[in-house]
């Protein structure tokens, strides 16, 4: 489904070059539910943005759904985003002037779906997140958890094969977070591939597979996870040390 080979991403500003990802390798199979964790600034969002074709990358190769999407035109990536990918953001990112139904309908508008079909899909998506009764409400009239469910409905309405979520529960209390997580699990059960970035270890554990991004690289712990927690802890320590060493180097270098 998703395959990244030796991806690296460098942010250049006038003063510094930041290597947000370096020789990043990852394969995700169709139907997987992958939880991504990692320290702050390690490159999780950068990875997700690249996976979702919101950003390009400096080097490497990226195949999505069997198609090489490494060097797509802006229009083409917009089209793939619209047709194959659903996004859920930490900040919900609903459009404040539009009511729930209109928010959910946005991806369908850009796809040119007919009005009757649009209506049907919007209703179904809102039904699925349990907010069908509040279609005419504005986002500000909802709680954070409800807003996030609308955002999920918006992602669902487009019937994406591939759902990317960046800390979808980051702004929610644990009860709401669990509801959202259950929703995502249901969606995953119906066949949608999901990649979710989270800081919540408990939620991460519920996913099929866990990967950790450290310092712009993947540490895939899933194979160890169930077997030996001490190895995981050890690996994590190594990773943290590596980061600390690098930090030291930067500080002393400067």
């Amino acid at each position: 489904m998703l395959s990244m080979k030796n991806i690296s991403k460098v942010f250049k500003t006038d003063l510094v070059e930041t290597h947000a990802l370096r020789e990043f390798n990852l394969n995700v199979a169709e139907g997987e539910f992958v939880a991504v964790t990692g320290p702050s600034g390690s490159g999780k969002t950068t990875f997700l943005n690249i996976a979702g074709l919101l950003e390009g990358f400096t080097e490497g190769e990226y195949c999505l759904d069997g198609v090489n999407v490494s060097n797509l035109s802006d229009n083409k990536s917009a089209q793939i985003r619209n047709e194959k990918i659903g996004f859920i953001f930490q900040g919900f990112n609903l459009i404040p002037d539009l009511n729930l139904a209109e928010n959910v309908e946005v991806p369908l508008r850009y796809r040119g779906v007919k009005s009757s079909e649009r209506k049907r899909r919007v209703e179904a998506a809102l039904e699925q997140v349990g907010l069908a009764a509040r279609m005419k409400h504005l986002p500000t009239q909802l709680s954070g958890g409800q807003q996030q469910r609308v955002a999920i409905a918006r992602a669902l309405a487009g019937e994406p094969r591939f759902l990317l979520a960046d800390e979808p529960t980051g702004n929610l209390d644990s009860l709401m977070a669990r509801q959202v997580m259950e929703l995502l699990e249901n969606i995953n059960q119906s066949g949608t591939t999901i990649i979710m970035v989270t800081h919540d270890a408990e939620l991460a554990r519920r996913a099929q597979r866990n990967i950790q991004i450290v310092d712009g690289q993947v540490c895939d712990f899933s194979m160890y996870q169930k077997a030996d927690h001490s190895v995981v802890a050890e690996l994590k320590k190594v990773a943290d040390q590596k980061q600390a060493a690098e930090l030291n180097q930067i500080v002393s270098g400067a």
């Binding site: 943005n49 919101l54 917009a78 996004f87 930490q90 990112n93 459009i95 946005v106 850009y110 487009g158």
Partner: protein, 437 residues
């Protein structure tokens, strides 16, 4: 999709009512002023002859002496006009000037009125394509053998004959009975191109009588009479024999061949007149001493459109550009504030083109509203010009084409101001605004 954009645009306009109002105001004032000046310019520079411009020609002669006027005079002397009227090579021709006469009818309940009257030949109605309601022009023989016949306008027919067919009835001009031979429909060309020397935007006359009556009736001249040397004018005969110019002369020339023929006739005519001691300005060759002017040339030579008017149009366009730059700034602020929303739309799959289109529709809508308001400004200003400053209604009437032209100009102006802001906003990187909200 267009309707979707319209819906979004309308919401966005409503969401920031003050900002939208400012933009609409800026556009509408710019448009209002431009349309006002453009409208005045357009009505003033209109050519009423239309596609008959090249056929409808007036004649001017350089009959003045050396070192007098340095331009052709639009009018001609009675002597030259009489000779031209007798030129049988010219099939269709009409001399014409304005006079004023007191008018009455047999109906004594109707008070007599003083009216401007056009004294002319019967071909006048052909040359200027004057539409008839009843009857017809007078017979061509009347131009040679004077008869007391008259063509009246619809208004006069309404006043004196209650709008009924008055052909055969009698009216009295300065107490002389004239027989009505025709009634013309309302006819009031702007500019008044058949006599631009007497106020190019004055109303047309409503009474027309034969030029052949001039000598026996000695009509006053209600128009410009110009002279270039001292000539005593004790009697009407003095006027007729003088070198004073006061009569317009028109002809209809279908082909360039006819035009060339007339030009060479005129050259010969000037040569002949020189041998009689007239046309004393020998700095001009005989060929140069005669001019055949189609309608557009005559209007231009007579400055029917004052050049101030062109400057005014230029200034108002400049003003519109200032408004445009203002709107550009306002739009840029407004659109950039919406960048986060654009980021979301882009992430969800809107292409740059779709975002651009969305914002251009919004800009177009603001332009359209601005155009409509601007039209109201223009209409108000023109009404004010008419009411307070007595500017002629024919100049201040809003040209019907302006109802289409104005929104078009407004939308294109707004679009021009909006291209850059819309372009900037459509290039928003989707990832930038997604992290924080």
């Amino acid at each position: 999709m267009f309707l979707y954009y319209c819906d979004l645009a309308w919401r966005s306009i409503k969401k920031t009512p003050m900002l939208s109002l400012l933009m609409v105001l800026a556009i509408s004032i710019g448009i209002g002023i431009t349309i006002t000046t453009l409208n005045v310019y357009k009505t003033m520079s209109y050519n009423p002859a239309g596609d008959r411009n090249d056929q409808v020609n007036s004649i001017q002669l350089w009959s003045q002496g050396l070192d007098t006027w340095d331009e052709f005079n639009t009018n001609m002397t009675f002597t030259d006009v009489s000779n031209l009227r007798n030129n049988n090579e010219l099939a269709i021709k009409a001399a014409s000037y304005r006079t004023g006469l007191a008018m009455q009818s047999d109906d004594e309940t109707k008070a007599p009125v003083l009216r401007s009257v056009r004294v002319t030949d019967t071909d006048f109605f052909t040359i200027f394509d004057v539409p008839f309601l009843f009857g017809n022009r007078w017979n061509k023989s009347v131009d040679l053998q004077p008869a007391y016949q008259v063509v009246i306008g619809e208004q006069i027919n309404n006043t004196f004959f209650d709008g009924k067919n008055s052909v055969g009835k009698t009216i009295y001009l300065n107490r002389k009975p004239y027989q009505v031979v025709g009634v013309i429909k309302d006819w009031n060309p702007k500019p008044k191109y058949y006599d631009p020397t007497n106020g190019a935007f004055n109303d047309a006359e409503h009474i027309f009588i034969p030029f052949s009556l001039s000598e026996q009736e000695e009509f006053d001249v209600w128009g410009n009479t110009s002279g270039w040397r001292f000539e005593p004018m004790l009697s009407y005969q003095d006027r007729l024999r003088s070198e004073k110019t006061w009569i317009q002369f028109w002809t209809l020339l279908e082909t360039t061949e006819e035009k060339n023929q007339l030009q060479s006739w005129l050259t010969r005519y000037v040569e002949q007149q020189r041998s009689f001691g007239r046309f004393t300005d020998t700095a001009k060759t005989p060929a140069e001493s005669a001019q055949i002017s189609p309608v557009d040339k005559l209007l231009e030579d007579n400055n029917a459109v004052p050049s101030d008017n062109k400057i005014l149009v230029g200034l108002s366009v400049l003003f519109l550009i200032v408004c445009l730059v203002n709107i550009l700034g306002l739009l840029l602020t407004k659109f950039l504030k919406r960048a986060p929303e654009v980021g979301v739309r882009r992430a969800i799959g809107a292409s740059r083109g779709q975002i651009f289109a969305q914002y251009m529709v919004e800009v177009g809508m603001i332009g359209f509203i601005g155009g409509i308001v601007g039209l109201l400004w223009a209409w108000g200003t023109l009404t004010l010009l008419h009411a307070e400053f007595n500017v002629d209604p024919s100049v201040t009437g809003l040209d019907s084409s302006m109802w289409f032209v104005t929104p078009l100009i407004a939308i294109s102006t707004a679009a021009l101001a909006g291209v850059y802001p819309a372009w900037v906003v459509c290039r928003t990187k989707p990832s930038v605004y997604l992290k924080a909200q």
